[in-house]
């Protein structure tokens, strides 16, 4: 009940703090903080003269706010965004500001904003804040730093205000803005503000322009070794459709009668005309390597960065150099069970990265669904790479199910487990533990 009450007020507090940051200059913020301090000590006007400081500072702020009302102007802003960005790598984009006024403008500040998305109580409660353990008890109990962290993640990045010293009348000006994406997925741009401080330099008047846009941020990629599993080539149903340029395609064997379901393009028209019944061309069965990459998306008590590491490793494998005729299936469970295939002219790297950019963790166990999917594709896949977030009972069941298939499988575990049972399971199943700190080195050492 108390938690709900506190959470309900977070939105108000967060908005107020955002408003304060956007509206007050650094000196204005200092004066704003000093005002209540002076007010408290000046409450009894007979004991101190602090009420005089309170009067001065509060009237300065009121005056500043009053004069900010006189800021007028018509502007338009166009944002030029790149196609993609990558987590943690700063990207530059530009904004074209057009001053539509008949006078030039000086001392403007361009504030570009990403959309603020307020988390639900459920999302907030389940999200782990890495610094929670180091925070003080009050912060931990109230959870405001955690909320700020969640909000930052949801917003996806921070953009620093840009000073625009001068813009001539009826002219355009292009500024470069740097954005450092904090998460993968789509970042939504919301509003752009043009601010100008009033004469005292305490408060900023703002012109708010709705300027919605979005930018896809791809997962962080690591250098991965070439896939080298003890695999074999397997029969791939679907033949030529999956083999447009390479492999065993186009190997004609014979003609045969048409069976319902045969593609129309396989019909041998000459024979059809000659025999007056549909005859189709038969090609050689296709055999090539197909890898299955299983991504564990079930996040229970694990910290969120483990999931992010898993997605990054999956993305790295999916885009890594592989054998020319190999296919790579990405298997994971979100709201449904998904299987995306890349290679051999199917989905390109950018399509797979786009899919992985939008993968979200699932908080309800979904391992059984993954198991079913693996059963379905076990006849087609030559080898599996399984990226696990934990090694609980359901995951051990999955490992067992994969072992029974007798298909070469590489298990990667992104969490260090200390219990003796877990250590035993890791040893028995040849699970490679990859740590967040040494991720690249441990990936290099895989093969």
């Amino acid at each position: 009940m108390l938690r709900k009450l506190v959470f309900a007020n977070f939105k108000l507090v967060y908005r107020f703090s955002q408003w304060m940051r956007q509206r007050f200059t650094s000196t204005g913020t200092l004066i704003l903080l000093i005002t209540p301090f002076a007010g408290v000590f000046g409450f009894d006007t007979r004991n101190t003269l602090s009420f005089q400081i309170f009067s001065i500072t509060s009237l300065l702020l009121i005056t500043a706010m009053f004069f900010s009302l006189f800021f007028r102007g018509r502007f338009s802003i166009t944002r030029k965004l790149p196609q993609y960005g990558s987590v943690g790598i700063p990207l530059n984009y530009s904004c074209v500001i057009r001053n539509e006024n008949k006078t030039s403008k000086r001392g403007l500040v361009l504030i570009d904003e990403l959309k603020n998305q307020f988390p639900s109580l459920d999302h907030f409660s389940k999200t782990k804040y890495p610094l929670d353990k180091k925070s003080n008890r009050i912060d931990r109990f109230i959870g405001y730093p955690r909320l700020v962290n969640v909000m930052q993640k949801l917003r996806g990045g921070s953009i620093k205000p840009i000073a625009v010293d001068y813009i001539a009348e009826q002219s355009e000006l292009e500024t470069t803005i740097q954005l450092t994406p904090l998460r993968r997925g789509y970042l939504y741009f919301d509003k752009t503000r043009l601010a100008q401080a009033e004469p005292l330099g305490l408060f900023q008047a703002q012109k708010i322009l709705n300027n919605k846009d979005s930018l896809l941020i791809l997962p962080r990629l690591y250098k991965t070794p070439r896939l080298n599993l003890q695999n074999k080539r397997t029969y791939q149903h679907g033949g030529v459709n999956n083999a447009s340029t390479v492999g065993d395609s186009q190997e004609f064997i014979s003609l045969r009668d048409y069976h319902p379901g045969d593609p129309i393009r396989s019909i041998h028209w000459r024979s059809f005309a000659k025999l007056n019944k549909p005859i189709v061309k038969e090609y050689q069965d296709e055999y090539f390597t197909r890898y299955g990459l299983i991504l564990d998306t079930f996040l229970n008590n694990e910290p969120e960065f483990i999931f992010e590491d898993a997605v990054s490793i999956a993305a790295s494998f999916m885009t890594a150099q592989k054998e020319q005729d190999a296919l790579l299936d990405l298997i994971f469970v979100g709201n449904n069970t998904y299987r995306f295939t890349s290679g051999r002219g199917l989905a390109g790297d950018e399509n797979i990265l786009e899919v992985l950019a939008c993968v979200e963790p699932v908080y309800k166990s979904n391992i059984d669904q993954v198991e079913m999917m693996i059963q379905q594709c076990s006849r087609e896949c030559s080898a599996f790479i399984c990226i696990l977030l934990d090694l609980d009972e359901s995951r051990l069941k999955l490992i067992k199910a994969l072992s029974i298939l007798n298909i070469p499988t590489k298990f990667l575990l992104l969490r260090d487990l200390t219990s003796t049972d877990s250590a035993k399971a890791i040893q028995e199943n040849d699970v490679h533990v990859i740590h967040h700190v040494n991720l690249q080195q441990e990936l290099d050492a895989l093969w």
Binding site: T45, L59, L60, K160, I162, L200
Partner: protein
């Protein structure tokens, strides 16, 4: 189109402009009398501008110095609270620049020109390097230090207007260096003057607001929370700023046979020791006065007969209270009184019921005999000793007889001082009486009574500070003297020739001056007070009648409530009609096969009486051997009808089978 570079706006605080820290410290030194320290600290903090070398403090060093500052602050807080109690908060405020000195030195002499937030907040320090850059950054604390110096200076609490100007100048200097360059200096100056002008009005308004709100709440307190006088302690308004305002509330009524020629003083109690605006007594014991046999009368004086009488009506908040009485009180009588006590300091305490009570005062030629003086009645606090020695020497009191001393002192206050209920100048608490004597020479009755009492003590005459009321306002239409809160007065008693005598050096204009502040609503309030007195302030015997009258008043809200209920009840009924709910209950076992048989027997023989059990009925209808057979059948029926357990279908079949076999 012009391309501009990526010029991000810094959200960090800029360093304080050169000289501003020194200026703010000088304001602090001027207000708090730490001028020497202010100059030294100011020069120390501004010196780095002239020297080039800097010290490379590590994060650990800064953290340790910040912790040391915290420890110093803690020690100062404990020390100040132990010595000054809660008033010490202003002392702590005064010392803040000392507390922050170490951090300022580290910043100004360090290479980083700022202090990390992790040094200031242990919670951020614990987060380590993983903390978000939003909270883990280095900030220059120069400008916050300037403001802290000003707030610390405000605790000096003097030269109000000059302090305002000094603060405005320091803040203007700060803003000048931070101003936005795209506006002209004239715009900046106009904005600043605009803000300062209204700030000056606002700070005056804040003072007025406090005075008015205090008066308002004091009036409310007097109106609803008035308590009897404390015989051991009374706080004076010496040292209270602004206008002393007492309410028009009627405290008591005095009915006399013939009108008074001069104001009559009704004393409440006397006090012997003065310290920091408070008069107090040692522990006071009250002596219970014996009731005169066969009468509701208590004799307080030695005289046998009363020379004249007065009827007093007073409102008691508690059952026991000190009442105001004249000095020459002889007897006290009244049905409302339960017990009467007196103290050595001349207080008369009664025990009676709460609310308006009446009593009769019998007066004689002789004053009530108070206890002779004690060494306390000659005591002068060391804070004031020198001041009164100086006045006594100037008036040459040491060589005079007591009568001469009384005359000189009376004349001294009459000729050199005037009455004022306003105090606008602020001083340290103990300085107000000194300033009254030597500088301001104006004040209200508490100043006059206190100063006179202490001056006479200095001249060797024992004195006591006395509080009470001056009876002087006669209400023609009420036919009584009315004594209001603003008639409260302070005077003194001096002991000469083996007796206590009254002396009042307050100029006689005090009562008319205080009456100037009466509100326009005073006549209306008097009327309400009189009505309330008349309806509730009669004899104990009529209490029953009063309560009946009061109950009649209660009928009005009761009638209103009933009317409202009547009105709303109709609406509820209408709603009920709209949403009629039909409740049906399924009663199990009503399909028992026995019921048709019962019906048949009822038709053929006799019907069941109301409340008659089946078994009793069968026994009545078939008083022969058939009764037992029917009993078995009825038991089966009861099991089917009322027993919640068992297979119902089977039970029903058993009844049917039994009936079949019977037929």
């Amino acid at each position: 189109m012009v391309n501009v570079s990526n010029n991000t706006v810094s959200t960090k605080l800029n360093p304080a402009p050169t000289g501003l820290i020194l200026a703010s410290l000088l304001v602090w030194g001027w207000q708090t009398q730490y001028m020497l320290y202010a100059i030294i600290i100011g020069l120390l903090l501004e010196l780095p501008l002239l020297i080039k070398w800097r010290i490379d403090f590590t994060d650990k060093d800064v953290n340790q110095l910040a912790d040391l500052s915290g420890v110093i602050f803690f020690i100062i807080t404990v020390y100040v609270f132990v010595n000054y109690s809660f008033q010490g908060i202003y002392k702590i405020l005064e010392l803040l620049p000392f507390v922050l000195l170490l951090l300022m030195l580290v910043q100004n002499y360090g290479v980083h020109n700022g202090i990390k937030t992790s040094a200031l907040f242990i919670s951020i320090r614990r987060l380590g390097k993983n903390a978000s850059p939003d909270i883990l950054y280095s900030t220059n604390i120069g400008m916050p230090f300037v403001f802290i110096c000003l707030i610390s200076a405000s605790s000096g609490n003097k030269y109000s207007d000059y302090f305002f100007i000094a603060c405005a100048l320091v803040i203007a200097w700060l803003l000048l260096t931070q101003r936005t360059k795209h506006f002209s200096k004239a715009s900046w100056f106009c904005s600043l003057v605009f803000a300062c002008f209204f700030a000056y009005l606002a700070q005056n308004g804040l003072q007025q607001l406090q005075n008015h709100s205090e008066s308002f709440f004091l009036e409310l307190f007097e109106q609803y929370g008035w308590k009897s006088t404390d015989s051991e302690r009374t706080s004076t308004s010496i040292g209270s700023l602004a206008r002393l305002k007492l309410s028009d509330r009627i405290m008591f009524r005095v009915k006399v046979d013939k009108k008074l020629l001069t104001p009559l003083y009704f004393r409440e109690t006397s006090y012997s020791k003065y310290e920091y605006g408070t008069w107090h007594n040692p522990k006071v014991d009250f002596d219970i006065i014996s009731k005169s046999p066969g009468k509701n009368q208590w004799r307080l004086n030695i005289n046998k007969f009363d020379k004249e009488t007065m009827d007093v009506a007073i409102y008691l908040q508690d059952q026991a209270a000190i009442i105001p009485v004249p000095d020459n009180i002889n007897t006290l009588s009244g049905k409302d009184l339960i017990q009467v006590e007196t103290s050595v300091y001349g207080s008369t305490r009664i025990e009676a019921r709460e609310g308006w009570i009446n009593y009769r005062l019998g007066l004689s030629d002789h004053d009530f005999v108070e206890a002779p003086p004690t060494p306390e009645d000659l005591n002068i606090s060391l804070n004031y000793k020198t001041d009164f020695e100086q006045v006594a020497a100037r008036l040459n009191l040491y060589s005079k007889t007591p009568t001469e001393i009384i005359n000189i002192v009376q004349l001294y206050f009459k000729d050199n001082f005037y009455y004022s209920i306003s105090q606008n100048q602020r001083y340290t608490k103990w300085q107000y009486l000194t300033k009254f004597l030597f500088q301001d020479k104006k004040g209200h009755c508490e100043y006059f009574a206190t100063a006179t009492a202490l001056l006479l003590r200095e001249a060797g005459i024992p004195t006591r500070y006395t509080i009470g009321y001056s009876v002087q306002e006669y209400s023609d239409w009420q036919g009584t003297y009315i004594v209001r809160a603003r008639h409260a007065h302070a005077w003194l008693k001096y002991y000469v020739d083996g007796a206590w005598h009254n002396m009042d050096t307050t100029p006689s204009v005090w009562a008319p001056m205080e009456a100037e502040d009466r509100t326009l609503l005073e006549p209306l309030m008097d009327l309400f007070s009189w009505l309330r007195y008349k309806t509730t302030g009669s004899d104990i015997d009529s209490k029953k009648e009063q309560s009946t009258n009061r109950m009649l008043w209660l009928l009005i809200p009761l009638a209103a409530y009933l009317a409202w209920r009547f009105y709303t009840k109709q609406r509820v009924e209408q709603n009920n009609n709209l949403d009629t709910i039909h409740l049906t209950f399924d009663r199990f076992g009503t399909d028992s096969p026995l019921y048709p048989l019962i019906k048949k027997i009822e038709q053929e023989a006799d019907s069941r009486q109301s409340g008659e059990t089946l078994m009793a009925w069968i026994k009545r209808v078939f008083p022969d051997s058939r009764t037992k057979k029917y009993y078995d059948l009825i038991r089966l029926h009861y099991a089917y009808r009322f027993n919640p357990v068992g297979d119902k279908e089977k039970q029903k079949k058993l009844i049917s089978d039994a009936l079949d076999s019977k037929t």
